[in-house]
Amino acid sequence: MSKGQQSSGKCRGTRDMLPADMARFRHIEDIFRERCTKWGYEEVRTPTLEYMHLFTSTGTLTPAMLGKVYSFLDWDGWSGERVVLRPDCTIPVARVCVETAQAKPSPLKLFYVTNVFAFEETGLESREKWQCGAELVGASGPVADAELVKLASETLRLLGLQRVDLKLSHIGVLRALVETLSVDEEQKHQMLDRILEGNIKPLLEAASESAATEKFASLLMELKSESKGFLENVRAMCGPHMGAVQSQLDDFIKFIELLEALYCTYQVDMSSARGFEYYTGPTFQFASGGTLLGSGGRYDALIPLMGGEKVTASGFALYVEPLSNCLKNGAGTIPPWKGVSITTEPNPASVKAAFEVASTLREAGFIADIQFSDETSEKWNWRLSVGTSKFTLIDQQGKANTATSVPEVLKLLESKWNG
């Protein structure tokens, strides 16, 4: 490129999905869509642009997340109403549920494959991320949570991911614990924000005012366990002022009992609760070798906050990019080509013959690519040279066969493909 030319490169923090990436993407999407459909979920797609107040009005994205939202004034935004590139998909789907509540049966089982946008400072990661998500609205709590865990697990298994860790936490327990602390509302909000960002230090510091609460908080947050017995033990430590914490622990234990009945292996890790403030109950994370592949949880307060009925709701999202990176070699790769590269002379009669034979081959299930130069890619199984009255078919070893009609060409190809 000369000095005077500006690179027309892509925006910082964006990524092109090339044919091999798209093949893996479609593989993930196809398996997810097929699973969801078999589990009775229906697909939705919400707009890329939403009003910013959809995300601020529910008070359910942390200020740190809202600070990374792509927001701007639309061409008719003189009123100051900002729009955003969708930073999250659960909230728009919840909006759909509220707006279509009268017309749709309950419970609603919805899924989506969509992109979300958030600024990422280094520009090394993509600021546009694709997700495969499912939402279950209006079904009873722990069973719905368990169904979602199973649906996500099954999808991951069918994608060939064998060693996936399931980490469980419960935002309701953490909220109830924060409520027992002697701090003002603002500090409680900030403490939950920090927990959702993965920082439990402020919680442990605030709990240190009472020896019993400190002990409870540190055991709860710092230990990890593969058994619900851990939660039973912690529950026994609850002081008399911690009735709400006990009640939330009961809900968590019920959820875990269901997972055990469904043969799910898991790890209770209370510090794994991350992400969105709209979660109110159990949360779950799927990871493989330290890579986060997906997460979800229960968000019972979101739909009422948006003006909908008081219904329970849960959901999860699987993250396409890390999933794509974790796919085993060969999974989601481009299938073998059943392809014919067609070359011809640039005169009307030959071109007409080439287009006719290409059309026939496509109808018969072959990929037919008319070449515009003499160079032929190695990805084609056969090269077909088309003249006005003669066809020459050459395979990858250079062996040539001739034919005089299109049906004859087709017969030759089918016999070679099958044999």
């Binding site: 000095k3 500006q6 601020t56 935004g77 003189w78 100051g80």
Partner: protein, 470 residues
């Protein structure tokens, strides 16, 4: 020695900054109030050049690397960094002058004035500010459920309480707020002037000799001020949907005298408008019309969103607004004829270009990666560059003194000019006239569906028209 560039502030920080620079042995000849020379050279360090900017432009110019060092108020650094946390700025030294704080403030007449009350308000919280990034950050931190931030060029306090719930403004102290009848809700940032450096220059260039002096000299201090009294204005009724008064915005700043003269010619009496230390709510002798004084740049959007029904502004700002919001309900109701200027595209007199068409050729010849178009009128400038196929280009937003950007920091400016003299003094050549502009009455066309307001607008237009023939 490696060349170093210094961005110097105009306005309130100029005098103490000059004193600091002189004490540090870095004086710039011509760095003085009223100077018409924007490009300066240090008298002791010939490898150091300086340019005078509006304070608000300084952190941007330093961050993007056009300048290695700069001085500006801390509030502009915070405003920049809250939006661009990786903005490439290093805060080198804080000074003791130009001190103040950014407050989120409400009108003392509105009740309640507590942040917690705002947070639980289910309605839309309107925030007006010269510091829109800090305002948005404040709203998000407070978890306001629904809010709108109106960026304005100034006079944010004038919007309270009828047209805004909160103003995010800079003031020297809470006393100064109270003296204007405002109540602080929260302090968002504070401090005085500061010396900033471009992060890359900081890491790469040897600026030790300059910084040694700048960091060691004692900082001038602000003069102590006698606290003003607290203003307790009359209670005001907030504007309702059924308000039958016509709300009108009149311009502040240098436009005031033009407008006041015009109103006088039209036989419209005003009280406390067009005079030094006037009121931001002057009285006007047209029945059923209420007036506030705000910046003309902000009027089209304020009329569009019905904070005002009509306004007297320049057609240049209306045009800029309509390029940004093509379906806006604002339109010109009457050309008032005064303050005639041309909006022109100008280029350095050293550039061998006579027309816009030649700019493209020149860019190709110079192998410029992109064209830099500086303007206060960012939407007019954007439209100009697009229509003339000047891609690739970048718009450089400015807050005044745009002519100073050429040639170092811009290739073309889109600027208004009355006689062309200022442009010529800065060795700029006009290569195109985009439009002409004069004062005009603008109106939100939607109010014409209200018979009461329509009658008032028509009466106002008739009254103002008398000023044209007087």
């Amino acid at each position: 020695m490696e060349r170093l560039k210094f961005a110097l502030p105009k306005g309130r920080l100029l005098k103490p900054t000059r004193s600091v620079l002189e004490s540090a042995g870095l004086g710039f000849d011509g760095y003085a109030e009223g100077s018409r020379h924007y490009c300066l050279v240090s008298s002791c360090f010939p490898h150091v050049t300086g340019k005078i900017f509006q304070e608000k432009d300084v952190p941007i110019q330093v961050a993007i690397g056009n300048y290695d060092l700069g001085v500006c108020g801390r509030q502009w650094v915070e405003e920049f960094l809250v939006r661009y946390p990786l903005g490439g700025l290093v805060r080198v030294r804080d000074f003791e002058y130009g001190r103040g704080s950014i407050f989120a403030a409400a009108d003392a007449r509105s009740s309640p004035g507590e942040t917690s009350a705002i947070r639980h308000d289910n309605g839309v919280v309107r925030i007006v500010s010269e510091y829109p990034n800090l305002a948005e950050s404040f709203a998000l931190a407070l978890r306001l459920r629904r809010f709108k931030v109106f960026p304005v060029w100034g006079a944010a306090e004038a919007y309270l309480p009828e047209n805004s719930d909160v103003a995010v403004i800079w003031r020297e102290s809470e006393d100064e707020l109270a003296a204007q009848g405002l109540r602080p809700l929260r302090t968002l940032a504070g401090g005085g002037a500061c010396l900033i450096a471009n992060a890359s220059s900081w890491a790469r260039k040897d600026m030790g000799k300059l910084l040694e002096g700048l960091c060691r000299v004692p900082s001038p201090r602000d003069e102590a001020k006698t606290p003003g009294g607290t203003v307790s204005p009359e209670p005001v009724a907030l504007r309702s949907e059924n308000d039958k008064d016509l709300w009108m915005a009149l311009p502040d700043g240098h436009q005031q005298s033009h407008v006041a003269s015009f109103l006088a010619r039209a036989g419209i009496a005003t009280e406390e408008y067009g005079i030094k230390l006037g009121n931001n709510r002057p009285h006007i002798g047209v029945p059923g019309v209420k007036v506030k004084v705000v910046r003309p740049q902000d009027m089209p959007q304020q009329v569009a969103n019905r904070n005002f029904d009509v306004a007297i502004t320049g057609r240049d700002w209306l045009t800029d607004h309509l390029y940004r919001f093509p379906s806006s309900p604002v339109q010109e109701a009457l050309d008032l004829g005064f303050g005639k200027v041309r909006i022109v595209a100008a280029i350095s007199g050293e550039t061998p270009v006579q027309t816009v068409a030649e700019v493209r050729e020149w860019m190709r010849g110079e192998q410029r990666p992109y064209l830099r178009v500086a303007s206060e009128y960012v939407n007019i400038a954007d439209n100009f560059a697009r229509e003339h196929h000047l891609s690739p280009y970048k718009i450089v937003p400015t807050w005044g003194a745009t002519e100073a950007f050429i040639p170092e920091d811009a290739d073309i400016v889109i600027e208004n000019t009355e006689t062309g003299r200022t442009l010529a003094e800065h060795n700029l050549r006009i290569i195109d006239t985009l439009a002409t502009s004069s004062g005009c009455l603008i109106v939100n066309r939607n109010i014409m569906s209200s018979p009461d307001l329509k009658d008032k607008v028509l009466f106002l237009v008739q009254s103002l028209a008398k000023g044209l023939s007087a």
